[in-house]
Symmetry: C2
Subunit: 336 residues, 2 copies
DNA sequence: TTGTATGCGTTATCAC
DNA sequence: GTGATAACGCATACAA
């Protein structure tokens, strides 16, 4: 049961090499003050015994784990795994290791993850979770764990944040659509538990239409390709004329469901049905017709977050806040 | 710099509550032998002081981190993130946390990650990396770190493995294709650094054709949608007749590149060009025409791996080896 | 039921 | 240059 019982300790190395453990420690940490002779002797026995220092004990003694906690919703979305990949790339570069805390659309769980991060003794944390309020996140900071928060503003001593500006760009797209003669009525496809980003977009969508005095619709659907496809296929076949419209969906897969349903129902895209994906990934380019989308390079966001965090850990972060602008790429699923 | 200096310790709690630290420890670990009165007192001061036990110190004292090391190639592929998501789901259920070690197509790096896993003092490890040989993986086991290895056989006391059976199914698909009157010549689309699974498939592909006495081709291409699209588009437009064939690609995105290139070049899929994706994901269903694919439910693999690992950690793993069969799903990109 | 003492595997501050 | 020795924060066997 005690699966690490036979771990070789620094003490055993010292004994075998005929020196004190202090000397071994010096060799490990490549500090000076060691004769080449003894150094060689120690290194030899280290190799012979297969000694590996215990990160645990090191961390306890130095008060530094080289460990970054990452709080994200379940890693199963493409844009999340892109984010993770970006974080991971820089973390590796800087000598950090990532510890994952995944949440699943529950405020309670997200909170308990924050507690876990604190007990886990990480050197810093990157948090990307819609369920967490600023207040929640402050909690982690009150334990003086440096933290970068994505998509939530956060003010604090040991904190930085990355903010997405989605709403303004979305408003611009909507205004431009009508200005350039777009005449379809727009429908915002709402999904349950879509998170704060989606809700923010929805609010901007609504307020823009109110501002323009245009009619608009909001439709609830399931966060699943097949369900969404089925729903829309039924909708499109039952009332082809009434289905004409411009649909804004949260994710590539959902947008694709609408495109495919329309195409399969004999409607033309973008003639009868236009579709915009809010969170575009590389798949926007792959599906046919290609998918007009807004996107933020999440891998880049991940990199930046990790950069900011390393700076923050060294008390060296100048700009505590950073914005990422969403960009619109027109492809074949929309006319303008 | 010393970012955790002001952490509240168990000792401070004890002092504030007027008990010994042993009592506090008992309260934390919910052991018996504590009066309700003192328990309440201790819990109150814990809350008041905002005390969180140090996982580090706990781990050092008990020789148990609740930490699982996961070695994977950079998490940027859909099937990898599915795997991760499966692992993560069960890990959370069992009270473990995941520490990520990502590698990037380098044997050296993969080896150094194994060393890191050892020093990191994890309770167990799940390894999915094509760069690691059995010998490499044995190393982690020789430190008596329980490990589950995916897609590499491994024999060892504290080890289990999950094996994919891709080759046999691929052979079956190929044989069946010709038996049912498929007459296109097959091309295996090879990508650099595709890993052991791809190479295994390639060998099976070749040997099956030799067995059948059929001609076959192997084509090198880049592991990128856009490059592959460009390459194939050129190929298809320059020599439409000669392009007729059955292409086997590693990944959905690459297979989609071929499909789209063919379609855009005026060829018909699956009339002129048939395409099979080896590692299918949900996108096989989304692209048009839909993509015939082989697939293994990687999320399920992840779950199983984590289940096996928890059993292994408790010396309770009966079946040390487990196979996952790849399944073929015929969709619209192939005729049979 | 509660407190004392020791150990977990390091680092770091002293002496020598 | 090298070696004792005290932290680091907690669990636990043992004594009270």
């Amino acid at each position: 049961m005690n699966n690490l019982k036979d771990r070789v300790t620094i003490y055993q190395v010292a004994q075998a090499a005929g020196v004190s453990l202090a000397t071994v420690s010096r060799v490990i940490n490549k500090q000076g003050n060691v004769t080449d002779t003894t150094r060689a002797k120690v290194e030899a026995t280290i190799k012979k015994l297969g000694y590996k220092p215990s990160g645990l004990a090191q961390a306890l003694a130095t008060n530094k784990t080289t460990n970054i906690g990452v709080i994200i919703p379940s890693a199963n979305y493409v844009y999340i795994s892109n984010l993770l990949s970006g974080i991971s790339e820089i973390a590796k570069q800087k000598g950090f290791v990532l510890t994952l805390f995944t949440t699943s659309h529950s405020h309670e769980e997200a909170l308990s993850m924050i507690e876990k991060v604190i007990t886990t003794h990480v050197d810093g944390a990157i948090i990307f979770d819609d369920e967490l309020s600023e207040e929640d996140v402050m909690k982690i900071n009150s334990y003086s764990v440096p933290a970068i928060v994505i998509n939530t503003v956060l003010t604090g001593e040991k904190a930085g944040s990355i903010k997405f500006s989605y709403g303004e760009e979305l408003k611009r797209i909507i205004r431009q659509y009508y200005e350039k003669g777009g005449d379809k009525e727009m429908t915002f496809v709402h999904v349950h538990d879509g998170g704060r980003l989606l809700n923010h977009c929805e609010r901007c969508f609504a307020s823009m239409h109110q501002e323009l005095g245009r009619p608009y619709h909001v439709l609830n659907c399931d966060d699943s390709y097949s369900h969404t496809y089925a729903d829309f296929y039924q909708r499109f076949t039952e009332d082809p004329k009434g289905s004409r419209g411009y649909y804004i969906a949260y994710r590539d897969s959902l947008a694709s469901a609408i495109i495919n349903a329309a195409t399969d129902a004999g409607l033309s895209v973008p003639g009868d049905v236009e579709v915009l994906s809010l969170v575009g990934t590389k798949y926007a380019n792959i599906v046919r017709p290609t998918l007009s989308s807004m996107q933020i390079d999440m891998q880049e966001v991940g990199k930046r977050a990790m950069w900011m965090l390393t700076d923050l850990i060294q008390d060296n972060l100048m700009e505590k806040t950073c914005r990422f602008e969403a960009h619109f790429t027109k492809r074949d699923s929309t006319i303008v």
